[in-house]
């Protein structure tokens, strides 16, 4: 099994969720993160002093999937999350050795 971590723009979450649903990936966990990268932070103003906000709000989406789905999942996420503008985010793939469903104790592919 693989873990897909995608850092995306917050307003793209719903689109990505639907895109993944269309290929039957219906389990995922998301969190609010802040990202730092090529996308220039904007400068904000606070009572007369300008300052740069380096870290921009992003959503991190994590989904554990079966090995054979990696390509299709990456394709779907890329398609749905893309705006073409800098800061669209990244996808990272790592290996997962074991998965357990707490409710039933099922393991691995059955537990996804």
């Amino acid at each position: 099994m693989k873990k897909i971590e995608a850092i995306i723009k917050p307003f793209k979450l719903e689109d990505v969720k639907e895109a993944l649903g269309s290929i039957n990936v219906t389990g995922m966990t998301v969190s609010e993160v802040k990202g730092y990268g090529r996308q220039q932070g904007h400068s904000e103003l606070y009572r007369g002093a300008e300052y740069v906000v380096d870290f921009l709000p992003k959503i991190k989406l994590e989904a554990i999937i079966a090995d054979e789905n990696v390509d299709s999942v990456i394709a779907k996420i890329t398609e749905a999350a893309k705006t073409g503008k800098i800061g669209d985010g990244k996808i990272f793939v790592t290996n997962v050795e074991r998965v357990v469903r707490i409710r039933t104790g099922e393991e691995n592919e059955d537990a996804i």
Binding site: F11, K34, H42, E44, L45, Y46, Y51, V53, F55
Partner: protein, 393 residues
């Protein structure tokens, strides 16, 4: 000692007291609306509320008051106060003017740019409102219409202008799906909404009570007492009826609906709190609450996107309250309807045209990206609840 001046003194004091209550509605609207929009648009709403109070009051001081009450120039010159200090009279009237725009600011929020909206606020307080006000309250050609504190003059004027504004602006992106389905966009801060709603409720005692203008005779004191009790009763009835209906429909006590119901009741009683007895406000307010609960989804069905429910509260109930005067007291229905219709016919098209002109001239709506990111950063340069990973320390 000259006791003859005491009624003058007491009425002046009373008007100042009422004005202070009304000005409490400035933070009232600001908190209500800031709580009802998404976090990313909170500062824009707050800034709009503060600035519109500043701008509308300022213009009203410069010439609006003068236009409305038949003065002869600028500032207060030529306006006559009837048995109380002219300053107190001005202050009380000035406390009103911002309300017509305050009620709009929630309805156009989350997409309107602040400066174009302030231009409209200036036009509203410098022209539209003083002209309607002059017709009904300034002794003009609608002076037969009974509208104690402004169900029509304030609330439906603001409501018509808001409707025009929403039509020109369009809905928030993503609010309505491709097949017309309505997507709820939840509020960001319910304690603020509740605080704002209660401050408005309390401010209304000054709004309606002060509109008696006099308290310094036994009859006047009784009348003020009656008005304030009736105002409160309609608020209670609106809250309770909205709660009943919303619970009946959804099995949930949605506090935003309940508060809007209360405000609907308060708007509805604003025209006639002085001419009805103690039980009529129960009916008027309860119907007000019901109207709100049904009007909110109706506007959504029409894809008229009003983030805070202001049309349902102020426009619908402004009309209802003005009609109710004829139903529950001895006033001509025809006259009341005439007031409603002519006000609408004057305000709505004029506002529509003004919004269109502003749109062409300087743009009205924030661009797509800023709408996604939120207006706060673009318009105000700050966020409502900033912090986290922001600065080194």
């Amino acid at each position: 000692m000259d006791t003859l001046t005491l009624p003058y003194v007491i009425d002046t004091f009373f008007l100042l007291f009422a004005s202070v209550l009304i000005i409490l509605m400035v933070p009232g609207f600001a908190m209500l609306e800031a709580g009802l929009v998404r976090t990313k648009n909170v500062v824009a709403v707050l800034t709009g509320n503060v600035m519109l109070y500043a701008i509308t009051s300022f213009i009203f001081l410069l010439w609006g008051f003068n236009v409305m009450f038949g003065g002869n120039g600028f500032f207060l010159s030529g306006v006559v106060a009837d048995g109380y200090s002219l300053y107190a009279y001005f202050f009380f009237q000035m406390a009103f003017v911002g309300k017509t725009v305050s009620i709009m600011s929630g309805g156009v929020s989350e997409r309107i740019r602040i400066i174009p909206f302030m231009i409209f606020a200036a036009l509203m307080s410098g022209f539209i409102y003083p002209m309607v006000g002059n017709a009904i309250w300034g002794g003009g050609f609608l002076k037969e219409v009974h509208d104690l504190a402004g169900s029509t003059v304030i609330y439906s004027v603001g409501g018509w202008a808001l409707l025009a504004g929403i039509l020109v602006l369009g809905a928030r992106r993503g609010r309505y799906g491709k097949e017309g389905q309505v997507r709820a966009i939840p509020a960001s801060n319910i304690p603020l909404v509740t605080l704002g709603g209660m401050l408005l409720w309390i401010g209304w005692f000054g709004f309606n009570g002060g509109s008696a203008f006099h308290i310094a005779t036994k009859d006047a004191a009784d009348l003020v007492g009656l008005i304030i009790v009736n105002t409160n009763t309609a608020g209670l009835a609106g809250a309770i009826s909205a709660a009943f209906i919303v619970y009946f429909q959804y099995k949930k006590l949605d506090i935003t609906m309940i508060l809007n119901g209360a405000l609907g009741g308060l708007v509805a009683i604003t025209a006639g709190a002085d001419v009805v007895g103690l039980w009529e406000p129960i009916v008027i307010g309860a119907i007000g609450g019901v109207l709100v609960v049904f009007a909110i989804p109706m506007f959504d069905k029409l894809q008229i996107d009003d983030p805070v429910g202001a049309l349902s509260v102020h426009l619908v109930n402004g009309v209802w309250g003005t009609i109710a005067v004829a139903l529950f007291a001895d006033f001509s229905l025809l006259t009341q309807l005439k007031g409603i219709v002519l006000t609408g016919l004057f305000t709505f098209p004029l506002s529509y045209v003004l919004f269109m002109i502003i749109k062409k001239a300087v743009g009205l709506r924030s661009d797509e990206e800023h709408e996604y990111v939120g207006l706060d950063l673009e318009e105000c340069g700050l966020e409502g609840y900033p912090e986290f990973v922001k600065s080194k320390v």
